[in-house]
């Protein structure tokens, strides 16, 4: 009999006294037969991958101050002028509190959408506020876009590697992810063409290309302007929608921002933007800029999902943009991240063993490291945590289990000194691991394909 709390009471007639008749067991014990989850047979198919992971649990240790965490992707907001933000919030509540704390339009507040269009001008996007839908971070934007376009089994093309949070969304909607190779200029258009052909031959339905053109998470590389045009050309020929995710575009260290892919084509591109890295992530304000037909559906989907994006946050962000030199603030952020990037690169140059290589990001938060053959970042993470340094194994960024020869190192949060110390510890871990590997020889499965496991990355609030 199924018990409402997941207990099945089954007492085999011949074994009524079985199982430890002891101090408390002198009477007849009813056998409890439980999986400790009353709903185990009720979950949707999409829930099945949501399991505990030993690797993910290690990030709990990474958050301790003893550990130099090069794992998280938390923006560093220590340079924000909190007094300015506080004054602006106080005025907001005093002057406009009744509106700011009320429900708002499902598409987002007009004042917010107008400001978003101003921000997008920096990347040469010309857009009307009516085409903007405000979302709970760009993460929710991606969720809504995927909800609109993807049925189970549909294919989404992603860079190899790609953002772990996006892979999680695609998995939740039961999409198949097909990875497309990158080079130093980002997504390779030739590889994109080839992937489209082979998927077509296989009878697969490709719904969109998901790409992060600037300072890609996790690889740190950026698409040149020419590359963006080439990618668009391939997309046009294949009648493919491009979803452009651009959280880091304004955080370049050297040059002015490049024109967004969306600036080159208003019909074929859905653009995702965010204030999480240019202002602060806690407000959870992002947006989707989409062609009008998609926009209409996005608004309806947003109303179903949240009724409306957080009104207070939108007013807070709008008022920050109105009352503060936000462009100047982004420059301050950029310099702070540049200093950290430089520390990371010099630490890597000093401490990585021969045979290790890494990307040199021109902005953003991440360096992508390729390990010498045979080393396995996934298997090695416990040793790194013992040595008080953490990273994200490359496997997190592939939907197909590849990536064990890579790791993502983030430089956004720790101080430059801690970053260098982190690379020193990591260097020792790699040396030791190489020694173990040498002992056990080439039989050790190198660059192995692991099972289809996602979510093996730190949570958003982890350092």
């Amino acid at each position: 009999m199924r018990h409402p709390w997941g207990v099945t009471d089954r007492v085999p007639a011949d074994r009524r006294l079985a199982g430890g008749a002891t101090e408390a067991g002198s009477g007849r014990l009813r056998r409890r037969d439980t999986r400790l989850d009353s709903y185990v047979g009720s979950y949707a198919a999409r829930t099945h991958g949501m399991t505990a992971s030993a690797i993910r649990s290690l990030f709990a240790v990474a958050n301790r101050p003893e550990v130099v965490s090069l794992a998280g992707g938390m923006p560093n907001i220590s340079d924000l002028p909190l007094d300015v933000v506080a004054a602006s919030l106080r005025d907001l509540v005093t002057i406009d509190g009744q509106r700011a704390m009320q429900y708002g339009p499902g598409q987002g507040e007009p004042v917010m959408r107008e400001a978003i269009c101003e921000v997008m001008k920096l990347e040469e996007i010309s857009a009307h506020p009516d085409d903007v839908t405000v979302t709970v971070g760009s993460q929710q934007g991606l969720d809504l876009v995927t909800r609109l376009f993807c049925d189970p089994g549909d294919v989404v093309l992603c860079e190899a590697p790609s953002y772990v949070g996006a892979l999680g969304v695609f998995r939740a909607y039961q999409c198949e992810v097909s990875h497309v190779a990158m080079d130093t200029h980002g997504l390779d258009p030739t590889a994109l063409s080839a992937a489209l052909s082979s998927l077509e031959q296989a009878g697969k339905r490709v719904k969109f290309l998901y790409t992060i053109p600037n300072f890609q998470n996790p690889a740190g590389v950026s698409q040149t302007l020419q590359r963006r045009a080439e990618i668009l050309e391939v997309a046009r020929r294949a009648d493919l929608l491009v979803v452009e995710d651009n959280p880091y575009g304004l955080l370049g260290f050297d040059d002015d921002p490049l024109p967004a892919i969306r600036s080159l084509d208003g019909e074929r591109v859905v653009y995702l933007g965010s204030f999480s890295k240019t202002f602060a992530p806690g407000f959870r304000v992002g947006w989707v800029l989409a062609p009008h037909a998609v926009r209409d559906k996005l608004v309806l989907a947003q109303e179903s999902a949240t009724l409306c994006p957080p009104t207070f946050s939108q007013f807070a962000v709008s008022s920050y943009l109105q009352n503060h030199d936000w462009r100047g603030q982004i420059k301050v952020f950029r310099e702070m991240y540049r200093e950290r990037r430089d520390a990371m690169l010099s630490g890597l140059a000093e401490h990585m063993p021969a045979g290790t290589s890494w990307t040199v990001p021109g902005g953003g938060f991440f360096v992508w490291v390729t390990l010498p053959p045979g080393l396995d970042s996934h298997a090695m993470l416990p040793r790194a945590v013992t040595a008080r340094v953490a990273y994200v194994p490359g496997t997190a960024f592939y939907a197909d289990g590849f990536g064990s020869r890579h790791m993502r190192l983030s430089y956004c949060f720790p101080t430059p000194e801690r970053i260098i110390e982190g690379t020193r510890r990591l260097g020792e871990v790699l040396q030791y691991e190489a020694g173990v590997l040498q002992t056990f020889g080439t039989d050790v499965e190198a660059d192995t394909v692991r099972g289809d496991r996602l979510y093996e990355a730190p949570g958003a609030n982890q350092r």
Partner: protein
């Protein structure tokens, strides 16, 4: 009649969880559950991580009893308890020196085997030995002596972290590397096929007693980290679906393990009942998991108690014992 611990007022309890081990996350889950259970009995609980603020915290609570729910190396190995004993703080559970022996799988197995309990044939080796003697020939010798399938695991680790079942010679090198990622010494042992059971021994004051055995049936066939901490991934039967005489034998083994390892208050012994119905010792746990998917709370409930009552009783026993500096038994 002599008053029992049950008559004493319950002191404030500092539940210690977290720490820096690989099992920090599991420990935090255990700590939360123990804290909730104690609070459900009206006990004042302070939850604390292990950090530099701990000594001050204990100083501010002079009558508190510590309930350590720390898993993994540097904590379950007794170092923390050694420290508590030196500070004169009463705590629930085994003393440091006993933890040190119990937590090391190879040492614990040796001690337990000497008491006549069946254990898997086992070798414990640091990675350097493979380098010095030549990994290939040493692995071939191990394959000869232990045979396949075999289990490879870190000597000092819990939650099945770094453990793998090896069925073929070519899988052995990866398994060794996987185990060494968690610690300096790896244990290679015979795989025992059979029914996986675990038996809790608890002493609520009147003396140690065994609780009903919990049988563990992971859906995937392997009781790994995912099977342990994903609700729904493992089927638990309590009491275990084993014959009464086998259950009795399991209880007796767990009790012997508790005694020969010098364990105190609460312990959990993991066993395999082999195809001939013999309980084979796998490992002993001095800080058994108390999470929502752990076996010990199930055994406590099956015994007719609540987790809150059990934890409160253990705290009272520890308070009675007081914080005298524990003197390690002379071997």
């Amino acid at each position: 009649m002599r008053p029992t611990a049950e008559d004493d007022p319950t002191p404030t309890v500092v539940v210690l969880s977290g720490g820096l081990s690989h099992e920090r996350d599991v420990s935090l889950r255990s700590g939360r559950r123990v804290s909730l259970a104690l609070r459900s009995r009206g006990v004042e609980v302070v939850e604390s991580d292990v950090d530099s603020g701990l000594v001050d915290l204990l100083g501010s609570l002079p009558d508190a009893v510590v309930f350590p729910v720390l898993h993994g190396e540097a904590r379950e190995d007794g170092a923390q308890r050694e420290g508590l004993a030196r500070l004169g703080v009463p705590f629930v559970g085994s003393i440091g020196s006993a933890c040190r022996v119990a937590f090391d799988k190879s040492i614990a197995t040796t001690v337990v085997a000497e008491s006549g309990i069946v254990t898997p044939s086992q070798v414990a080796l640091p990675h350097e030995v493979f380098r010095e003697l030549g990994a290939k020939s040493l692995m071939a010798a191990l394959a000869d002596q232990i045979g396949f399938p075999m289990m490879v695991k870190p000597s000092r680790s819990g939650s099945a972290l770094g453990a793998s079942k090896v069925c073929l010679p070519e899988e052995l090198p990866s398994a060794m590397v996987g185990a060494y990622a968690y610690g300096q010494v790896a244990v290679i042992e015979q795989f025992i096929a059979g029914t996986e059971v675990t038996v809790t021994v608890a002493d609520r004051g009147p003396g140690a007693a065994t609780l009903p055995a919990v049988e563990i049936r992971p859906e995937s066939g392997v009781y790994d980290y995912t099977a342990r901490y994903t609700a729904g991934a493992t089927r638990f039967l309590c009491p275990a679906e084993i014959a009464a005489d086998v259950a009795q034998a399991c209880a007796s083994v767990a009790r012997t393990v508790h005694d020969v390892l010098g364990l105190r208050d609460i312990s959990r012994t993991d066993l395999i009942v082999d195809t001939e119905g013999r309980p084979v010792f796998l490992e002993a746990n001095v800080a058994p998991g108390m999470t929502e998917t752990s076996a010990v709370p199930l055994a406590i409930e099956a015994a007719g108690w609540s987790l809150g009552k059990m934890c409160t009783d253990l705290v009272r026993v520890a308070a009675r014992r007081g914080g005298r500096v524990a003197v390690d038994p002379v071997p």
